[in-house]
Every structure is written in structure tokens, then in C-alpha cells.
Symmetry: C2
Subunit: 566 residues, 2 copies
Amino acid sequence: MYSSLNTNGNAAAFETGPVSGRFAAVYSEVQNSRIDHALPLPSVLRNPFKVVEGPPSSAAGNPDEIAKLFPNLFGQPSAMLVPNEADSLRSDLKLKIGVVLSGGQAPGGHNVISGIFDYLQDRAKGSILYGFRGGPAGIMKCKYIELNADYIYPYRNQGGFDMICSGRDKIETPEQFKQAEETAVKLDLDGLVVIGGDDSNTNACLLAENFRGKNLKTRVVGCPKTIDGDLKCKEVPTSFGFDTACKIYAEMIGNVMIDARSTGKYYHFVRLMGRAASHITLECALQTQPNITIIGEEVAAKKQTLKNVTDYMVDVICKRAELGYNYGVILIPEGLIDFIPEVQQLIAELNEILAHDVVDEDGIWKKKLTNQSLKLFEFLPQAIQEQLMLERDPHGNVQVAKIETEKMLIQMVETELEKRKQEGSYKGHFKGQSHFFGYEGRCGLPTNFDASYCYALGYGAAALLHSGKTGLISSVGNLGAPVEEWTVGGTALTSLMDVERRHGKFKPVIKKAMVELEGAPFKKFASVREDWALKNCYISPGPIQFVGPSSNAVSHTLLLELGAQA
Amino acid sequence: MYSSLNTNGNAAAFETGPVSGRFAAVYSEVQNSRIDHALPLPSVLRNPFKVVEGPPSSAAGNPDEIAKLFPNLFGQPSAMLVPNEADSLRSDLKLKIGVVLSGGQAPGGHNVISGIFDYLQDRAKGSILYGFRGGPAGIMKCKYIELNADYIYPYRNQGGFDMICSGRDKIETPEQFKQAEETAVKLDLDGLVVIGGDDSNTNACLLAENFRGKNLKTRVVGCPKTIDGDLKCKEVPTSFGFDTACKIYAEMIGNVMIDARSTGKYYHFVRLMGRAASHITLECALQTQPNITIIGEEVAAKKQTLKNVTDYMVDVICKRAELGYNYGVILIPEGLIDFIPEVQQLIAELNEILAHDVVDEDGIWKKKLTNQSLKLFEFLPQAIQEQLMLERDPHGNVQVAKIETEKMLIQMVETELEKRKQEGSYKGHFKGQSHFFGYEGRCGLPTNFDASYCYALGYGAAALLHSGKTGLISSVGNLGAPVEEWTVGGTALTSLMDVERRHGKFKPVIKKAMVELEGAPFKKFASVREDWALKNCYISPGPIQFVGPSSNAVSHTLLLELGAQA
């Protein structure tokens, strides 16, 4: 019944360590069928090409400060691969390239690595690819594995980051940069590909700057990874993993919608991953058309309070009850309460109080809260109050991430509905069911889109390193067209940067791309959400298909953004 | 981007009431592609057939009592459709058939109805099919809709029960039986198909007995529905919906496994739907090979305590830590704590105390608990204690279903690990993540198996009614073979029955089929679970595919049970 891989003739063995590979892993039929899925490459990568440069670049903000922080890299042009009569890069160069996965999992990471590997095989035969194990710490500690065809094979088109695993360490201090240099020198690295989110790509650029400043030959190229979809710009239309994760969540949401409509008695409150930006929630809404969707950026822009959000939900629930619908589906971004100014204020005050004061059982400590924060605190359900007080991270901070916002909102909605029932303005019945869709989306089998996109990102990143580029982020564009027509190049990481003032110093940052209230995806959503609220326009996307209808569909967010640009 | 159905030329309209149909529903591409999916029929249903009878039947237990409860039906033989030279049933009979969905949703319900409808179209042209709305209450209140081809079309191969919706009412009292009779007479019903679980099929048999006793012409046939998989016997190898639900859960579990392996730092505690029996948990374990799986029936058979279960988990976690694995995946059946004798005892005592006594804050009420129950109560995490005291159903009973067993176990495991750390026998690190996979599995798009199985169940049920049978459950067998070779017939519902003593009377029941510790699926699991515990044998089934590899796979449980029978 099970089919197992047998690339090393050792199918009976099991993996014996955290990063010992999938040689002998047991695969499902679908996993197996994906391994040999032929990946299309953009035509520019299938033919001879040369690398051309654009005009000098600037920065996303504060170019003067960015120029000071990146004296060697600031202003460098973007690069674009274009067809050429003959290959312009020396195929006899034997490169030594490292690759590292940084931060949380996103479907497609293995394909970026496969893309780098295949490029080297195809165009710089004899090159070596090192995989740094366990994230940036692997670079600092020089913990790596040499990746070969057999090792990579079982990970092709597979989810997860377990080929080399990831980590959340950062290369920040002078000693850490020194360690990275030592590794680069020890392994004689020509290049390094950093696969990560906004922070990791900022770090990649600092590393590139540092290596260049030290006259090391090691170039650094980044790749845009995050299911949250908040690392993007004109040249990098989306981060990888977003497509797959949203489709997995949308499958579940669609199922829950059909359940809601069939049962007729539940309101499903679905919290979705995405701490900083609400892209996932917005994309899932566009795919499934729920009754209520809260977008954190809108809540922040309108300076809404928790009471405002609750009232909006309750208003819709009351109107639906009048229409005979005592059920519905509500989407909430994980980071919702971070977006609410009064909550941020309360949490800041709590962090301060909890750090310095004794929290007495009689609640005298509460007197240290401002009036507004005290009012909000008392408005919160008791379980949430307790969570705010008890769950702390290692720095002693309130762990907002641990708050089950969907459960909190159910309780608050219940309380408000009870009030309206007493007043006679609500005659329906309400039962909330809570869901959190998060981890199940980070490591799914990549969709055809993510599989192809990642492969092109990796293949392109290797081409950039081969051509001697550094401080760029691999950029694959024209994603609304067939893969054949995708564009491939690199964008100056410094051009995505701004500075933030931290501890009295300017720090470079790639600002997270938030949901734009003037952007096409949000405007589309805003134009139809009233219909969705009262009518039932549910769409159930069903499970991701790898062949047949919809198997090559692109996310609504991407399509709408591309449409708006066109 | 959206495609919409347009069967009534009114795609712009939205549905306007809870059971107004999906005429104008907006469909995803995958939903759309499924509507026209051609369903294979067993060859016996595609050709002329006759209905033959088996030997007289008995009961699952206490045949004398069952005979008294079903004087008209007891002992009747099963029926089997077999090929015949010519059709044996009159195709000029114009039948009036009702159909009702009873209880919780299960993927495939719409296909049972499609099967009934198509049978009538194919073999008794001019017949009428009534869909009773909102479950058995629809029969009692004579709330129905006449189903026609246009109405049914958009539901073909779709999830949910919203075509006619379901309900949990029972037809029990003499007045309720009277109401059902009135409906049967008013609509001049020749037959009724009851789609439901063990209770609903018991009810269907009582209705059949009652109609027969009153000399009504209305025959009643049941269909085996429940994602829990606990309605099955030799003749009814599985209930529909089990296949789809398990595959949806297994997709998510597989994703979480890859996440666990990639991150290396979480233990995912996954609670799975299935209150009474642990079939879903066992099937998901066989599909995904997690590190720890708790099967309720085993816990009950071995009279394990909550402490035993916790210790088993902690033992595995400690051994894994020694091997360098501080992560894992643990499956828990929703009904776990129901299986633990000491918990049942505690809950019985709590129900008694809460019904009659004042629960004082000082905890003097606790003195009414037996020593053993008090000890267990104090052993439970505080949040669970509160839940037990606060959440009550309308009958005042503790709502065990509301207890988040997975969170409770995480807390208990944490406490025990902390103890072992102090003792020096555990040096790992532990972070639990909780999941509950339930509602997202009940209304998914049916797998090819469930789609075909349900269609055959419905088509066969109509054939049984056409041939004048009553008190049978539609039985489709030989499910390990291609659909072509499936057998079709009906099994005497009385032969599945036993009695239970309730309120001093014998009540007929179809006993839930529990996980058999001597059955092939459990034995298979038990033979490999130690390997799964310490090695990482994770399988990620991926999303359900409707074409290509694995799209026609049958559940492991069914295959193993069929294999054991063969």
C-alpha cells in the first residue's frame, strides 16, 4: 500500500537524525507523483541569455541614510536576464555556492534549492552546493551539508524545509559577521543564497555589504519567502508560499462554509495566520466570499476599537438573523489585536507594569493603568485577561500571539447579542465555533504555481551569482502569463530599504508590504463585502489539484495587483 | 475569474433562503469540474436485474426481544440484486418516494439523493421524489420540496447537506409516528429513504414497522451515513463520508508532520472528530504514521487512567528527546475522555452534584465526590476543572464534548515532563501545539470513492423500494474491487439490532461498531506503532486528488477489514 523511495537502496531504514534526509522516507502516492512533476522554466532560462543592468537605484526611503549604511552597494542597478545569441557566462567556472533557509516554513523552499542546484548542473558543471543547516546559525557555526542529486531528489516539489531545516537566528553582531566571513573563506564560497522574509533579506544585504567591504569574493543573493505575503514590491510581485498556504486555508474555509449552510446554526470564527499583515485573510476572503472579514490594516487606518469591531460583527449577525440566517463564516487575521491602537496601548502599559510591579490579587496594580486601558481591560473576557497576565515571552512581554482572538471575539459577540436580545433588537440564536488555520498551511505540497515560481527563483538566483551579482533579491515577474513568459532578474536589495530608528541608531529595514486600502485586492473586496455579508455567496475552492481545472490558478491578490499595474 | 452556474438563467441572483437551492451559487473551478464527473455504477445496476432473497435473518442480540419490538419485520431476509435476462420490476410504476437526511453532515449525502433520483428516472419514469427539509422534522411537519433534475444538478458530487438540509429530531412518540403517517398518506408515499447513522437507521426500522403495522403502503429503506465510521457490519462494509473526512484530516496531519520535522521544536496534539468510536483516529494514523496515537477503545479495554495515558505520552517524548527529536505528532480521538472509566465516574458524580447541590466557592461541595473522583478532579488542570463545572447542556449535564482534550493533555504532559526534568530523567525541550480537526471534514467535496459509493447506495435504495422491500438498509459490497464489480442489495435492519434497557423498557438499538482490538486495522497499527513512536515514519497524503494517482484509493481501514475477511 505504501510506496517508498529507494534512491539509496535502503528503503527499510528510517531517518536517524534531524537532518539526515528523506532517502528512506515513506511517501504517499501524491507525494511520489509530485517528485517527478516536470517543472517548466521561463524561456529565458532555457536558452542562452545575458545579464543586463537597469539604471542606478535609490531606496524606499531615506536614501542618504541607506547610502551610509551600504557604502559599497547603495545605488547599484537591478539586473535582468535577456535572451542572447550565446551564453554570456563561462560554463567552465566551478562555483561554490551556499544556501540557507531562514525563518518560518513556506511551501516551495525545497524547489528554490532544486533550482539553484539544477542551474549549477546545467550551466556551471562541477560546481558545489552547500546547504547550511538550521538557518543562519548554520552559516555562523559552519554547519553544512554538500547537496548532491540523490540527496535533493526526494525533496523535489515537496513541502517543508527539512532538507536543511531553517532557523530564526540573525547575523547581527560584529562577531557574528566575523563567523560568517570565516565560513565564507573556509568554504571558499563564491556565493550565498539567503531564502527568507523581510528581515532575512535585510540581513542578506548586510552580509553582501560586509563581504564586499572586506573584499571577499562571496556574493549574496536573497529570495522572497513568506506565506504571509508581506514581502513584495513591483519587481517582486509575491513571496513564495503565499499561494499554497492560502489555498490550503481556503479549502478548509470553503468546507466550513458548506457545513455552516447545511447545519444552519453555527457562526464559524476562523483565525488565519499572518501576524503583521492581513494578506492571507484578504486572499482567503476573495477565494471564499465569507460573511465577515476583518482586515487589520483597515482597523488600524480607521482607528477602530475592539468595541467597534465587535459591533460591526453583531450588526451583520442581527441583520442576517432577520433574513433567517443564524449562521455564517467570519475571517480574522491572527494579528488583529496588534492593529487596534487601544490594545497596543494596553499591552505596552501591561508590559511596563509586569516588569516593575507586583501584581496583587486584589487588583490594586490596575490603578497604574490609564483610564482608557483599564476600561478596555475590564471589557475583555476574563480568560483573555488571565492570558494577558500569565503568558509571557522570555523577555517578559505579553504574548499577543498566544491570544485566541477568535475565541475572544465569540465571547464579546455573545455578550453584545445578549444585550440586544434584552433590548428586543435581536431575536436570532447564536452559536460560535472557533478555528485557527495556521501550521497546516506552512508545509503543504506546493501548488503548481509555487513549485514553478520557486524553481525559477532558485534557478535565477544561481544565474545572478554566476554573473557576479551581489546584494540583489531574485526577481521573477510577469507572473500572470504562462511560465514560459515569466521574466527573471534581480532587484537591488537596498532599493527596497528604508531606515528605522532603534536604540538611537538607524537600522535598515525592508518595510513589510501591508494590505493597501487603495490597492486593487482590498478595493475589490470592499466593493462586494456588503453583498457577502447578507447574502450567501460562499465559494468552496476544494482541495488543491495538481492536474486539471484550477491546478495552475494564480492567487486573486496577485492577479488583481497585476491587473491594476497593467 | 469566478465561474457560476446558470441552470436557471439567473446567475446574478443569490440564494434567498436557507433551503432555496444552489441554482445561482457561485462555484469554484474544482466544484464545477466535479458536477459533471461521470459516476460509474456497479454493473448489476447498469443491466437488467432481479431481487433475490437470502435466508431468514435474526438479530445482533436478544432476538426474542427484537422479535417482540418488530413483529412485522423481524426475521425478514436480506435482498440482493442479481443480473437477470430482463428487468423484473415494472418500469411503468410511477412511484412517490421521499428522502430525508438525518444527523450530522457527511460528504456524499447529495449523491445518495442523486442516485435515488436517477434510478427513478432510469427505471420508473414519471416517479416523484420529495426531499423532506431539515431532517426528520420535515417528515413530521410535512415540509418538503419536490426534487427535479434542475434542482439536483448543482449538488452532484458536492459536499454538504444543504440540498434539503438535515436535522437531529427523532420520530419517537406516538404523536410523532402519527404525524409521519399523516405525511405518508398525504403525499401518497410508496417509499422513504432515511439517510443517517445508527440512531436514524433504528428509527427508519421503527417507521417501517409502524407503517407495515398500520397497513400503509409506504416502505422505508435506510442508508449508512456517518463520518465516524461506526455504522458498519459484514453487509455494510463502511458508512459513507468516512473516506472523505479521514482524507481531509490526514492531509492536514501530514502537513503538520512536515512542519514538525522542519521546525524540530513542536509537539502537535491533534484531536480528531469521533465521539463514540476511534475509527477516524485509527484511519488517520494508518494514513500518516504519527508518533503517538491514542485509541479510545484500547484505553477502555485496558481500563487506563488519565495518568496512564499521560505517562505513555511522556515516556515516548522522553525517549525521543534522547534520540534528538524534540518534536512529534500525537493523534487523540475526540471522545477519549469518555473512554476512561475514572473520568466517566467523575462526570456522573459531577452531574449528580450539580443537579442537586449548591456549588460553593470554598469547595465544600467537593466533599460529595468519592475519593477517587476527587483525586482525579484535583489532578486535572484548572481550566478543565472550570470547564467541567461551567459548561452544561440543556439537560444540565457536563458537556464533555466541549473539553479541549488536546489542550488538557498538553498541560498534563508539561507538568509530568517538568517533574522528570527535576528528577534528571528528561533533558529535552517541549512545546505543545493544539489542533482540532472536525468541521472542516464533514462537508468537503466527496472523494471519488464516497461519490461512487453514495451514488450506488442511493440507486440501490430506490431499487429496493421499487421491488417493495421495507426495513432494509441499502448495502453495497465488494468495495475493494472496481466499482463495476460492487454488489448491491439490502440488509434487514432488525438483523443489526440488539436491545438496551432504558427507563425500564427494552429499546432497540443498532450498536455502534467500535474499533475492534482484534480487528485487522488495529492489529496492523499495534504491530508498527513502536516504530512510529521513535523513528519518524511520517507520511503526508497531500490534498485529495480527483484525477490521477491515489484518486481512487480506498481507506486503509476498509482495505484491511476486507483483506481479513477474504
